[in-house]
Symmetry: C2
Subunit: 206 residues, 2 copies
């Protein structure tokens, strides 16, 4: 049985939705980010990085959203969440998720996690001022190059979709209006219609 550690407002939402989409058997354990529970000794024993998500399996513990998403797809092949046996198509899925992880999530993180990369309050303010521009650049690329529609990879829903949905849900907090990106906005609306998304969101709104 899988055990999934998640945190409200975090990128764990993507893997959480994918777990539902996959129909895998799992339990979900909230990590209280407001109380800094991710840095408690108990949680650091699970994930020494002090981050969510973490997925406890019978073989060991997995971290990092792109890795967990591909693991979920590979663990439930019948759900068809990734083109596992087509190296090029699978690489396109992974390239999308890698871009979300290392560019779009990082752009967003400079709004409230500036302390990771600098020390002075003036630097944090400077970073925060640039966040909307960088977040917008990410959605521009998604809108114009990466999102085939109706789903990220085209006609077939994949593990890219809950990840885009997750970062699209952060846009407003970064002063970016998702309505400026019609394909992304339509994708977001379509995601919210899915029962898997609705089920998981009830936890994230708690």
């Amino acid at each position: 049985m899988l055990k999934f550690y998640y945190g409200l407002g975090t990128c764990s939402l993507a893997s959480h939705i994918a777990l539902e989409d996959a129909g895998l058997d799992y339990t979900a354990e909230p990590v209280d980010m407001k109380a800094n529970q991710q840095n408690s000794p108990e949680y650091l024993a699970i994930n020494p990085k002090g981050r969510v998500p973490a997925l406890v399996t019978d073989r060991g513990i997995l971290t990092e959203t792109p890795a967990i998403l591909a693991f979920i797809a590979q663990s439930a092949p019948k759900a068809g969440l990734a083109p596992l046996n087509d190296p090029f198509a699978f690489a396109e899925v992974q390239a999308f998720n890698s871009y979300v992880c290392s560019s779009m999530h990082i752009a967003h993180a400079h709004r409230m996690r500036g302390r990771r990369w600098a020390t002075e309050e003036s630097s944090f303010e400077d970073m925060r001022r640039k966040v909307p521009e960088n977040v917008r650049a990410g959605f521009d690329l998604v809108e114009n190059k990466l999102l085939h529609g109706p789903w990220v990879m085209g006609e077939t829903y994949t593990i890219c979709d809950p990840y885009l949905f997750t970062v699209a849900g952060w846009a407003k907090s970064d002063s970016v209006d998702i309505a400026d990106f019609p394909k992304v906005a339509e994708h977001y609306r379509r995601m919210k219609e899915r029962p898997s998304v609705q089920k998981v969101l009830t936890l994230y709104r708690a």
Copy 2:
């Protein structure tokens, strides 16, 4: 035939070594980073992100190091560069590469790419001061938790190894002495003995 775009001093080194390890047929095309060729109209038509690496295949163009590394492993299964049919072991490989990409590479990038995330010279200086601490934290985690030895995943060489080698090669420029991390230092030494690494490095020293 694959065509691989690479840049000196960049993370393209990891995929470049993996292409050699895989024994795939490819040509290598340098992108002159000093002349900002990655932002030329010609290159932006290949990779609109203005980054290297990019891998041109007969199906289309792939970007993002973790995706390209997994594509190489999956395209040359006989080379055994990743445990493709073991979802948990493959996820561990991917989690390592995702951490290198979204944490270690990002930590390093704040030394000379501060302009991506801020505007003021004082912020760039502040970021640069914090780089050694963040780069060190990454190697600490690799040394103590992630690097099984002798290769990253243990007895078997995988697509994690050229990626670790690549970021380890940046440590000195970030004022971090790799000798402080004995397992990482030994891994770096061992990598340099490999013919695939030696062959690719002749290009990167040009």
